[in-house]
Amino acid sequence: MSEHLPALLVVVPLILAPVAALSNRPRAAFAAAFAGCWWALYASLALLTRVRSEGVISYALGGWAPPYGIELRLDLVNAFVAVTVATIGAVVIPYAWTSVKKEITEDRIPLFYTAFLLMLSGLLGITVTGDVFNVFVFLEISSLSAYSMIALGQDRRALTATFQYLIMGSVGATFIVIGIGFMYVMTGTLNMADLAERLPAVMDNRTIPVAFTFLTVGITLKLALFPLHLWLPNAYTYAPSAVTAFMASTATKVSVYLLLRFFFTIFGFAFAFGQMRLNMVLMPLSLVAILAMSLVAIYEINVKRLLAFSSVAQIGYMVLGISFGSVLGVTAGLLHIFNHALMKGALFMAMGCVMYRVGSVQLSKMAGLGKKMPWTMAAFVGGGLSLIGVPLTVGFISKWYLVQAALEQGNWLVAGLVMIGSLMALVYIWKVVEVAYFQEADSDVEIREAPLSLLIPTWVLVIASFWFGIDASTTAQVATDAAELLLRGGS
């Protein structure tokens, strides 16, 4: 059984999706989603353990040898990302039960869990596959399900946000498939490893930079790298709480993984960074993302939107790490994928708790919440500390690696800008803390602490963000090994 784990990781949640739809009862659909998420967590952890001990796992679907059939190929990089996605899924799903009951009408709940499972399996499918067209197929599954879940937000503006995300996401996916098409035209293969082998022979053809362009634009659109992030803030703001928490912690991360996979494994580090100088594009954009988006977050008064802009800035950190093109830098990027998933998940879940009790996440509505919802706001502060990068939190580990990577290249300016970014994070987190703890609440509004079913998952992520900040040895080791693997240009 265990040799089938690469396929089962994806297809078990996938088959549970129609099962959840067919059951047509909230409780049964939830059970299916819960089973799917925890199965994914188990399978991804088992796979990561196996990859660490045995090296790359290749799984030939249908028994057809690659490149003729489709291959699932797991190395440290995508096993790590799969664990990230599955972890968040497993934590968010129990949270979703209570949160969704409040925010979504009951007759929609079974289909909601169906969409949730589809999104999970879509993201996992993108992560584990070794075939570029397959990437596109699962990208469609995850995107379509994400659109429909975002549209369920209580606010009418969720519909506009979804529409824009739909347009932009489709443009991104189309660009990716056009890029894949050009690569196929030049090589006749869709298998990643095979592509990496066959591309160098045709590198002198002008079609390759065109493919490269489409992939850059498509992927950076999907991962919301400034200035292609425009779809993100509204989508995160108006989606139901559980969806925001799940999406913010996984969807863009998987796109960051795609960036790594396409430009390091397939095109190869030497071509992408040496000849095409991808870092010349990524580094300035990520720096602007960090600074400009943090600044926007400082001025924002809707806390979910504030966190969404902060996400764009944090994505900047990941891409910045990658843009260094060094082991340290890519390690920082990979670590931040996992670390940011933990902290932003916790923060959005805390906001979900506020939404649950207060019905709004406007800053003005949060006055005095520090007293009324002490655990929720403490979780927010915990996640916020990590976002700022305080030692003993995961955020610190990421920033440490990032600054070390910058210093390694003598890039003092970038190192300084990263520190400034941290300060700006401090300001916007403080803004919320100030309102919640130091402003007097409306005394006539009765607000209780959020229910335990919401608090426990939130705190699991908060504690995890401290745990992996204190004992970063495992995550850092995996990320470093994965980064070395990527920079060696193969598997």
């Binding site: 297809v11 996938l14 129609p18 739809a21 679907l61 249908g62 057809w64 490149p67 003729y68 059939g69 489709i70 009408t105 007759d107 929609r108 289909l111 909601f112 169906t114 969409a115 589809l118 879509g122 499918g125 075939d131 067209f133 397959n134 197929v137 699962f138 469609e140 599954i141 379509l144 399900s145 429909s148 879940m149 549209a151 369920l152 209580q154 009418r156 503006r157 506009t160 824009q164 050009f182 196929y184 035209v185 030049m186 090589t187 006749g188 293969t189 066959r198 053809n205 002008r206 079609t207 930079p209 065109v210 362009t213 509204n234 703001t237 008064i301 809707n302 939107r305 709004s360 406007q362």
Partner: protein
């Protein structure tokens, strides 16, 4: 000019004309019909390019079902398009430049259909030569889609399923809950509540507080949350289509 090339050119010209007509027309009903024609012409083009399966799908889905679904949508939203507020000059320039660069960029692409193309040198010949021995399916397209790459097809099936999940989530279960503005407060209204019921609800809630609102005082979803300026996409109304 060979007959095939002649057909190619005619079809491409037709395609371009239909495309421009779709953009130009302000009548959405006409646009939907033209889009169907566009699909049909593309299907023809695919036939000429020897991609019969693709042509078949394009004809069935693009010209058939999509048209019906689009018409169904028009029945819900009306068939008039707002006049655009902006002149399309800037987009036109951008598209021309981007297109020009793209044409330049792809000018070294291998010629269509040549036997020595990389695309026809690697995996494709294997399918052509060995697939019958391995699967005994005469149609290579079917054996690739349903066997060699059946995992992709599984994904596509899931995509189609996802689409219906999305549509049903949004459409089939009655209206979504709405946030409405009432008496300076934003409240969430469960779906299926009529205006009369709402008014009654408000009256009940504000009893003693004097003067419950009229039924018409409820303004479903109009305007933006006053505290939330800047979140509403500006100019969205004028940009439809």
């Amino acid at each position: 000019m060979t007959p095939v090339e002649f057909v190619d050119i005619v079809l491409l010209i037709l395609l371009a004309i239909t495309g421009i007509a779709v953009i130009r027309t302000r009548n959405l009903f006409a646009a939907v019909m033209l889009a169907g024609i566009y699909s049909l012409v593309s299907a023809g083009l695919f036939v000429v390019m020897d991609a019969v399966d693709v042509a078949f799908t394009e004809a069935a889905v693009g010209a058939g079902i999509s048209t019906v679904l689009l018409l169904g949508t028009l029945a819900l939203v009306g068939d008039k398009e707002h006049k655009p507020q902006h002149t399309p000059i800037l987009p036109l320039i951008v598209v021309l430049i981007t297109g020009g660069v793209l044409i330049y960029g792809t000018s070294q692409m291998p010629p269509f259909g040549a036997a020595d193309n990389p695309a026809n040198q690697h995996v494709a010949p294997y399918y052509l030569e060995d697939s019958y021995d391995e699967t005994h399916v005469p149609n290579v397209v079917t054996s690739v889609l349903a066997s060699y790459r059946s995992y992709d097809t599984m994904g596509e099936t899931a995509v189609v399923f996802t689409a219906v999940v999305g549509v049903l989530l949004l459409l089939a279960r009655g209206p979504l809950p709405q946030r409405i503005h009432h008496d300076g407060e934003w409240i969430t209204v469960r779906p299926g509540t009529t205006r009369e019921e709402l008014a009654a609800q408000f009256k009940a809630e504000t009893e003693g507080g004097g003067g419950g609102p009229e039924g018409g005082g409820v303004d479903p979803g109009g305007g933006a949350d006053p505290e939330d300026r800047g979140d509403t996409p500006s100019g969205e109304g004028g940009e439809r289509g």
